[in-house]
C-alpha cells in the first residue's frame, strides 16, 4: 500500500541528496582552489556554505515534524532519525571544505612548496567515500556501505605518510614551516571528511539492517 507518508519520506531523502551533492561539490571546489591557486573559487566555497547550513536546519525541521506527526516505527523511524544524523555529517563535511578553502587562500599567497600529489589523492578517496556512502543510502545497499568503512584506512595511511614527508621538509628548511602546517591542516581536514563519510556509511547500515556497528573493535 502506497502511503502519503512515503511521499514525505521521499521529500526528506531528496533534500538530503541535494545537500550531499552540495557538500561534495564544496570539497571538490576547495581542492581545486588549492591545486589551481584559484582565490575566487575559495571564496565561493565559503559563501556556498550558507546554503548547506540552511539545508541542515530544514532537514532537521522536516524530520522533527515527521517524528511528531507520524510517530514512525521500524525502518521509517530508522530512516528519519538517521536522516537527521546524516545531514549533520554533511554539514560538517562542508565545514571542512570551508577550512580547506581558507588554507588555500593562505597558501596561494606564497610560492608553491611542492607539486601536490598526495593531497588530491586523499581528496579523491574521501570524495569517493562520500559518494559511495550516499549511493548505499539511495539504493539501500549495506554491503556498499561496509566497503566505504574499509576505505577509511587508506585515507589515514596517506595522511600519516604526508605528515612524515612534511615533517622532514620543516626539519630541512624552517622557512617552509608555515606552508607545511597549512598543508598538514588540509590533510587533517580531508581525514575528517573521510571519517564523516564513514559515519554516514555506519548510519546507512543502521537504516538497512537495524544494527548499530559504531564503536566496535572490528567492523563486521
Amino acid at each position: 500500500m502506497e502511503r502519503h507518508f512515503d511521499q514525505e519520506l521521499a521529500k526528506l531523502k531528496e533534500e538530503l541528496l541535494r545537500m550531499a551533492s552540495l557538500a561534495d561539490a564544496a570539497v571538490a571546489n576547495a581542492l581545486k582552489a588549492l591545486v589551481q591557486r584559484d582565490n575566487a573559487l575559495a571564496e565561493q566555497v565559503h559563501v556556498g556554505d550558507d546554503v548547506i547550513d540552511k539545508l541542515d536546519v530544514e532537514i532537521d525541521d522536516r524530520a522533527i515534524k515527521l517524528l511528531a506527526l507520524r510517530q514512525p516505527t521500524a525502518s521509517d523511524l530508522r530512516f528519519i532519525t538517521m536522516a537527521m544524523t546524516i545531514s549533520g555529517e554533511l554539514e560538517r563535511i562542508a565545514d571542512q571544505a570551508v577550512n580547506i578553502a581558507h588554507r588555500a587562500l593562505e597558501l596561494n599567497k606564497e610560492p608553491l612548496l611542492k607539486p601536490l600529489i598526495d593531497i588530491p589523492r586523499m581528496a579523491e578517496t574521501a570524495r569517493g567515500m562520500i559518494r559511495e556512502a550516499l549511493d548505499a543510502f539511495v539504493y539501500n545497499q549495506p554491503d556498499r556501505a561496509r566497503a566505504v568503512i574499509n576505505r577509511d584506512n587508506d585515507v589515514d595511511n596517506i595522511n600519516r605518510q604526508l605528515h612524515r614527508e612534511l615533517t622532514s621538509f620543516m626539519i630541512e628548511d624552517p622557512h617552509t614551516i608555515t606552508r607545511c602546517l597549512s598543508l598538514m591542516s588540509v590533510a587533517h581536514n580531508l581525514e575528517r571528511i573521510a571519517d564523516h563519510a564513514t559515519n554516514i556509511a555506519e548510519e546507512v547500515i543502521y537504516i538497512c539492517e537495524g544494527r548499530d556497528i559504531r564503536h566496535q573493535p572490528t567492523t563486521p
Binding site: M1, T73, G210
Partner: protein, 289 residues
C-alpha cells in the same frame, strides 16, 4: 501431549484448511524469543487451535507470557488476538460453535482441566473490556465484588482491599469521599479504572485487557495507559490493542498476529525499531492492516 478439551470436538478434523499465506507466514515465531529468556513465565499457550464452527481462527499457537510484565497483542482485525485473550479466561466457552485443541497452562496448571472451576479461573484471570462495565452498585461494592462472591464480610479486609485496589488503579484520590455513590455516575475514564480496580482486587495471576482505551477520550486514555505502565511488577498484563503507539508506550513485549498465526514475538522496542519479519515491519509502519 494430549489436548485437554472441556467441550467435545464436533468433528475430528477441521473442514477448512488454513488460509493460504505467503512463504513468510508459514514459519511462526518461537514461543519464547531470546529476549524473554530470563523472564519467569506466568502463562503458557501450547499448540492452541480454535475454530468458530468450520472456520479456524487460531492456528497452533505456542507462546509464553512473562510474569509481572506487560505483553501487547497486536495485529490487523480478524487476526485472532481477541479470540486468544478470550480463550485465556474461557469466555469463548459461552459460544456454542467454538471448539479448540491444545492447552493453556496458568502457573503450570491447565485451565481446561476437568476439575477447573471456570468462575474461579476468571478470578485468577481478571479481564477489562473495551466497553466499561461497572456493575449498577456503589463504587465500594464494585471493587469488592469478587470478595463478596467468596463470602468475605470482614469490614477491615474489605476496606483495605478497596483502598489498595483503588490506589493501584490511580482512582483513590478522585473517589475516596464518594465510595458509596453509584459507579454509573462516574466518567468513562473513571469507570474503566474502576473496572481495573475491580479486576485487581481479586489479585489475578494475569490481567487481561481487550482494547481497554478504545472507548476513552485522549486524557482518560493517557491515565489508563499510565496505570497499565505502573501495574508492571505487580501484575502480569496481557493487552490487546489496535493502537500500535499504545502497544509501544505501555508494553514490555509485543506479539504480532496475522490470520490466526503468531508471526513475531519479541521485546517491544525491537518490534517497533527493528522487527525481524517483513510482515511485522509492514504492519507497524502502517503499510497494511
Amino acid at each position: 501431549m494430549t489436548a485437554l478439551l472441556e467441550r467435545p470436538m464436533k468433528t475430528a478434523t477441521p473442514t477448512h484448511a488454513a488460509p493460504p499465506l505467503d512463504a513468510q507466514t508459514t514459519e511462526t515465531a518461537p514461543p519464547v524469543p531470546p529476549s524473554l529468556a530470563d523472564e519467569e513465565m506466568v502463562l503458557e499457550v501450547r499448540d492452541f487451535c480454535l475454530w468458530y464452527g468450520a472456520k479456524q481462527a487460531l492456528f497452533d499457537l505456542s507462546l509464553k507470557f512473562p510474569k509481572g510484565k506487560v505483553t501487547a497483542l497486536i495485529g490487523p482485525s480478524g487476526c485472532g488476538k481477541s479470540t486468544l485473550i478470550r480463550s485465556i479466561n474461557r469466555l469463548n466457552d459461552l459460544i456454542d460453535s467454538v471448539r479448540y485443541s491444545g492447552d493453556m497452562l496458568l502457573n503450570g496448571a491447565s485451565i481446561f482441566g476437568k476439575t477447573v472451576d471456570v468462575i474461579e479461573l476468571r478470578k485468577r484471570t481478571g479481564m477489562v473490556f473495551q466497553k466499561t462495565n461497572p456493575f449498577p452498585m456503589s463504587i465500594y461494592e464494585n471493587v469488592i465484588y469478587s470478595l463478596r462472591i467468596d463470602g468475605e464480610n470482614r469490614k477491615s479486609i474489605l476496606d483495605e482491599t478497596v483502598e489498595r485496589s483503588l490506589q493501584r488503579a490511580a482512582l483513590w484520590d478522585e473517589v475516596k469521599d464518594r465510595l458509596n455513590e453509584s459507579a454509573l455516575q462516574m466518567s468513562g475514564g473513571q469507570q474503566q479504572r474502576l473496572c481495573i480496580a475491580r479486576a485487581i482486587a481479586a489479585e489475578p495471576e494475569v490481567l487481561l485487557m481487550d482494547e481497554p482505551c478504545s472507548a476513552l477520550d485522549p486524557i482518560a486514555t493517557g491515565k489508563v495507559e499510565e496505570l497499565i505502565y505502573q501495574l508492571r511488577g505487580l501484575y502480569s498484563v496481557i493487552i490487546v490493542t489496535h493502537n500500535m503507539q499504545q502497544a509501544a508506550r505501555v508494553s514490555d513485549y509485543t506479539a504480532f498476529f496475522y490470520l490466526g498465526q503468531l508471526i513475531e514475538y519479541d521485546a517491544t522496542d525491537k518490534i517497533f525499531t527493528n522487527p525481524g519479519k517483513k510482515q511485522t515491519e509492514d504492519y507497524v509502519t502502517g503499510r497494511f492492516g
